[in-house]
Structure formats: structure tokens, C-alpha cells
Subunit: 432 residues, 2 copies
């Protein structure tokens, strides 16, 4: 019965990590989710809320009693509250802000003044600092006396009198050094600050590239305003990858396994519509050669092969280019070398498949000229595919757009149009 279900459920979920409880809520259907929340709602804590995917977060928050929600968010650090509320609708945001203490609310509202997806939104405001002239002993005494230390911190940040960060010391070094050692003498070379307005994707890149564990965040006047730790950066890196992979496939970049049918259709329809338009353009090219096909129907059989090979080769180049741009390994210094490489590779692959497919077409239809035509069309299309595969993402990047977005559609449109045109046009000239 109902009265027994709630304690039983609580007992079952008790040993689970909040992240696993959140996964459970994401994986069940929306009906079961409502039931779960009704029974487990009163036990819901802030950590579970922060772990819940954005796609169902609003739905879950709506179903929680106001006092449970207030209790849950009061336990959280300011950066987690920011992460929790930044995508919520106005009334839900208000409700959560009102549940916070005066000082926490001020901290959260302050964080929300930084641009979306900036380091300022990502950072936690609680930083452990020490005057740059302190010794290890002074730092230890301070830490022992302090009440409000953050759950996780890895460095003591040294600041000058103007509260500008000037270096940091790992906790390991503090622990391993004698009390009279000056903090300034055991700072790390890896020290670098992050500007609060920097994009979070660049922050994640810096953490990954330079093996940072934590980095102080500074405002426009170079004053310390917070700290970003590697787990936040890892999270961003994970989201950026997710976004790239979903965008390359033409799926809305917020799609999730827990989305409803309507939500999923809404995300995917626009991309399929774009694809329909480009497919119609490619068909228009075929229509130009209706007369040619009528006279030699083998062309209709073979033409998708030329287009398909071009599409695949273009996608290969495109994917490598998008990744190289994302990891900053495609730069001014090597862009021409990479373009040249892709062009040569496209030509070489084209030559290989021209020979293979030329032979296949000759044998299949007993017409050597048909083999020659499809071979030449293959070389042209794979060469163009390589150029389009690298040029399209580069152009999108220059225009300030995400190269992962829509690149695939542009490239396959080019390879379809060029493939059909080259193959059918050549056939019209040579064979008829």
C-alpha cells in the first residue's frame, strides 16, 4: 500500500549516489517519474536536483512541494544554485531565489550578471586565499580557525593587498613544508588566471591543455572573484563534445534520452526539412538529364553510387576538420598544409575508386565507356568532396558560427549536386 511504499522506496534509494538517483529519474517514463516524485519528493535533496538533466529539470521542480525545494537549494553552493536556475522560467527562478538566505541570494544574483556560458557563471565564489607574504604556519592556523571552507579546494590562492591573485600553492606543498617556509617560495609554475567573461568552452580547453586542477577567476580589474575547479571544466568538456556530436548528426543539441515524442519530433524536423530542400535541389540536377537517363537507364542505377561516395568522403574530411577546429589544432599556421593534404587525399581516393568502380560498371553493363564516365565522375566528386569538407567548416568558423552546425548538410548538398552533374553530364557528352 501507499503508506508502506514511501519508506520502502526511500530505503531502496538510500545507498545510491545522487547522480544515480538523477539517472533513474531520467530513465523512467514520465508517468513513473510522477509517481516516484510523489513518494520520494520529501526526501529529494539539492545534490540530486543539480544532477538532473536539463530536459526534465523543470518538470521535476514543478512537482516538488515548495518547502522541499527551499530546503534542497539552501544546502547548495552558489555555483550549483546558478547552474540549477539559469535555464528555468522566471517564476520558478523567483521561487528558488526567495528560498535562499539574503547573502546567498545576493551571491547568486551577482553570478547571474556574468554572460551565459562564461567563466563567471561556472566559478564558485568561495575561494581560499592568503596574503602573499604569509608563511605556511600562518596559512595552517588560518585554515584551522576558518569556519566556512569550501567542500573541495586544491590551492591556497595568494593575493596582493588589492585582492589581485599573484600565485597559488598546492595543499600538498603546504602540508609537506615546515611552518616557517614562505608561501611565496613554494608557488606553482602552472598558475594562470581566467577572465570571468571568457567562454566556458575556452576554460575547458585550458584545463585540458595545461592540466589545471583549479584556476582563479578575475574580473575586468583583475581582482579575484572566484575559482573554477577541474570537475566543472570536465563537465563543460563533456557537454561541448555532446553538442558537437549531436550537431554533426543534425539533431537538436539539447536532445536527451528522456525527451517526449513531441519534443523529439520538434528537434529533428527542422534538420530533416533542410535536408529535404537540399535533396530536392539535387533532384533538380537529375531532372536536367531526364532525356539522357531515358536513353540509358543504367545511369539511374549507377548515379547514387557517385553521390554516396562523395557524401561519405566529404563527411570524413568534415569530421576531422570540425574536431581539429574544436581542439584548436587547425590554425593559421597549418591551414594551407591541411587543405593541400585533403585535396591530395581526395584525388588519390578518387583515383582508387575510379579504377574499382570503372571496372565494376564495365563488367556489370558490358560497356567500357560507362566505366570511364563513372571513373572520371568519381575523381571529380571525391576531389570536390575533400575541398568542401574542409572549406565549409572553415567558412562557418570565420563567420562566427559553430562549424559542427549544418556543415554536413552543406557538404552533402555539394557532393550530391556535383556527383549527379559530373556523372550525368559526362554521360550525355560521351555516351549519347
Amino acid at each position: 500500500t501507499e503508506a508502506q511504499d514511501a519508506p520502502l522506496l526511500t530505503e531502496l534509494l538510500e545507498p545510491l549516489h545522487p547522480a544515480d538517483i538523477a539517472d533513474l529519474l531520467e530513465q523512467v517514463g514520465s508517468h513513473d517519474r510522477r509517481e516516484l516524485l510523489r513518494l520520494y519528493g520529501p526526501e529529494m535533496d539539492g545534490e540530486i536536483l543539480t544532477e538532473i538533466d536539463e530536459s526534465i529539470r523543470e518538470e521535476v521542480i514543478e512537482q516538488l512541494p515548495a518547502e522541499v525545494l527551499a530546503e534542497a537549494v539552501r544546502e547548495l553552493d552558489s555555483d550549483d544554485v546558478v547552474d540549477l536556475i539559469e535555464d528555468l522560467e522566471e517564476p520558478q527562478q523567483e521561487a528558488i531565489l526567495e528560498a535562499l538566505d539574503e547573502s546567498d541570494r545576493a551571491a547568486v544574483e551577482q553570478s547571474l550578471t556574468w554572460p551565459e556560458y562564461s567563466a563567471g557563471r561556472l566559478m564558485q565564489r568561495e575561494v581560499v586565499t592568503a596574503p602573499a607574504h604569509w608563511t605556511v604556519g600562518e596559512a595552517i592556523d588560518f585554515l584551522r580557525a576558518e569556519e566556512w571552507l569550501p567542500d573541495q579546494f586544491y590551492h591556497v590562492v595568494l593575493v596582493d593587498p588589492g585582492h589581485h591573485p599573484v600565485g597559488y600553492v598546492t595543499l600538498g606543498k603546504v602540508l609537506a613544508s615546515k611552518r616557517d617556509v614562505a608561501l611565496a617560495s613554494i608557488t606553482e609554475d602552472s598558475f594562470r588566471t581566467i577572465w570571468a567573461r571568457q567562454e566556458e568552452a575556452d576554460v575547458a580547453y585550458a584545463f585540458n591543455q595545461y592540466h589545471l586542477i583549479s584556476a582563479p577567476v578575475v574580473d575586468d580589474d583583475d581582482r579575484l572573484v572566484g575559482v573554477i575547479t577541474i570537475d566543472d571544466a570536465m563537465n563543460v568538456l563533456d557537454e561541448e563534445h555532446e553538442e558537437d556530436i549531436l550537431r554533426l548528426a543534425g539533431v537538436g543539441d539539447e536532445s536527451s534520452i528522456s525527451d517526449s515524442v513531441a519534443e523529439t519530433v520538434r528537434q529533428r524536423l527542422p534538420w530533416l526539412m533542410v535536408n529535404l530542400l537540399t535533396a530536392i535541389i539535387a533532384s533538380g540536377v537529375i531532372a536536367l538529364f531526364e532525356g539522357t537517363i531515358e536513353r540509358l537507364v543504367a545511369l539511374a542505377v549507377l548515379m547514387p553510387i557517385v553521390a554516396s561516395m562523395g557524401g561519405n568522403a566529404g563527411t570524413q574530411t568534415l569530421t576531422v576538420a570540425v574536431r581539429a577546429l574544436a581542439t584548436k589544432s587547425l590554425t593559421e599556421s597549418n591551414v594551407w598544409r591541411v587543405i593541400r593534404r585533403e585535396a591530395v587525399v581526395g584525388f588519390a581516393n578518387g583515383a582508387v575508386f575510379a579504377a574499382v568502380m570503372g571496372a565494376v560498371a564495365w563488367v556489370w553493363f558490358g560497356a567500357p565507356e560507362l566505366g570511364v564516365v563513372i571513373g572520371v565522375a568519381m575523381v571529380i566528386n571525391l576531389f570536390v568532396a575533400a575541398l568542401a569538407g574542409i572549406a565549409v567548416p572553415l567558412a562557418l568558423e570565420r563567420l562566427g558560427a559553430d562549424p559542427a552546425l549544418a556543415s554536413g548538410t552543406f557538404v552533402t548538398t555539394v557532393t550530391d549536386v556535383v556527383g549527379f552533374f559530373a556523372f550525368l553530364g559526362l554521360a550525355g557528352l560521351v555516351l549519347l
Copy 2:
């Protein structure tokens, strides 16, 4: 002149982070790289070597004088040496192992006994431990006396007399507690151990899911053998993503921007060859209907649209499924619900595009029956695309293969074959 170039280059590179110097070596052409190494080689340190991409690591190591290489690897931690040499050829491996001290060599050889891509290969062997009964004061005195502390560590791991890890304490807690506090009273709830034979992808997942910073690694007898830190896990996560995205595009998963033309052709040809075979199969389906096309050439114009829409819709579903499997959010508990959702979405999208494309075909060719045929074929193909998009990666996962690998080729083969068959078959039945 030559004599001036070397010091000038050293001065230019001096302020750069080793990771940036490695990027520079990756981004220049192979000729420039040889020149750079000739001039800068003697300054090369171990950190730069570990940052260099695998694709050029062998080439770089070959060009370094033996004594420079020996010097460089002697500075490194054992896990970095393992990472450096595990993919090298036998003779190069030998050369590096010989350069190490007796004890370091033993440590590296020991690590190499763990399976490839396991936690045992990823971990560093240097762990800071304390008997479980120690106080904060005893731990601090021990750390101050110890000579060999690792560069980066975040926890003191508590061990029992059998050297089994039983908990850990963050350095922050050690620093913030009085000397007489028992370490056992300030341990973290997040404590979990990792089995040395566990796959590194699962390790990365655990770090990301449970927000771990470091985790002790245990052998088959649950004894502590090393520790994995979050920066290693972040690296693995990054590589796993890279692999997924490249595999989905049918690009060799070790492809890199610094690969030569020959290397690039070698990686991409096999996938294009697979695609050629599947394209020929699809063409075979068209060939079955040559007679139909001959009598109504509009079919040749329209058929690529049906195939293309199916391919795109299938790729959308596929990508979402591959990501969901990688993030463990597609599980036994929700697999049927997700399959049902995809089927309904496929049907709904099919219905929308049936209406749109049916109308276009009617207007374009002035034949309402042609509109009906392409509409019905569209519904069939988008429905099948959805099912194939989820079934293929699930099947590959069940068979123990990577779902990202080859999924795309299977799915587009299905959508091409079904698309051509449905459209041309129906046309043959209805229109002629």
C-alpha cells in the same frame, strides 16, 4: 646562421607550456619538424614528449639523440613513461627502458603487465598513504619528513595493515583540522576504489558521474597498487569522445591533423570501400526496377530524395542511441520505451514529409498518383530508419563491439535499400 638559430629558437620557445610546444611540433609539416628537432632537440624535455600526439611520437623519438631521450624520460613519473612507451615499437621501448634507473624500470615493467586500456596502465604508482589509526598531526609530520611526494596529490589514502585502502581524507580537511583529530573521523563519503583491470573508459565514466578527484586502484587481492587522478580521467574522456566522433564518420580513430597523405589515405580507404560495397547493393535494388524507370523517368529523379531522407533520419536516431549507450543512459530499464519513442517519431516525421513531398511531386510532375507513391514510401522508409537507427547500435553493443563503429554504414545501407525498394516497387505496382 645555424649557430645563432638554436639559441634564438630556444629563447622563443622558452615561455611556452610543454603542451603548446608539442602542438607546434604537430602543426608544422614533417620537413619543418625535422629542422625544429635538429635545433631544439637538445632542449627537449620529458613533459613535451608526453604531450606529443601518438601520430608523430615515434617520428620525434627517432630523431632525438639517445642521451637527450634518456635525460628526458628520467624526469617523468612512472605513469607518464608507461603512456609514452606503450605504443612504441619494441626497439624504441627497449631504448627508453634502458635509460631508466633500476627501480623506475621495474615500476614501468610492472605497470605494463596490466592489460592495455586498463586502470592499471592509467594509474600512477606513487600514492600517499597513512595507517588508518593515525591522527592529523602524525600525517603532517610524515608528509614533512617524506622526500618522494608526488607532484600532484589530493587525498591521503588510509590503509589497513594488509595495505587495503579503507578510506581517504582530502588535504583540505587535513589542513583545516587540529593535530589531535583522528584521520578516520574526517574521511570522505565519496571514497570508492577502482579495480586495476577495469577498462579506462569505465574509469572516466565513474570520475565524471561521481565527481571524483582521485581514486585508489586495487589489485585482484584488493591491495592498493596506485592512484588515478582526475586529469588522467579527463584525458581518457576526451579520447573516448574523439574516438566516437571519428568512428561515427568512418574515419580511422587514430586520425590526426598531423598525419601524412599516405597515412590519411590508409585510414579512410577501408571505410570508403565498405561504403562502395553497400552503395553497389543499393544500386542492385535499383537495377531490379530498370524496366519501371525506363517507362517513367521521373522515378529516377525522385528516388534519391526518399533514400536521402531515410539516411538522415536514421543517422539522427543512431547518433542519439550511440551517445546514450556511451553515457550509460540507455539501459535495460528504458530500452523498450526508447525504441517505442523512436518508432513513433519515425512514423510522425514520415507522415509530415509524406505530405510535403507528396504535394511537391504532384505539382512538379503533375501526377497525383506519383505524390501518393512517394508519400507512402517516405513513411515506410522513415519508420524503418528509426528502427534501424536504434537496433543496429544496440545489436553491436550486445555483440561486444563499439556501437559507434560501422553503425552508420549499416543504417544507411538499410535506408537506401528500403527506400529504393519501397518507392520503385510501389511505383511499379500502382503507376504502370
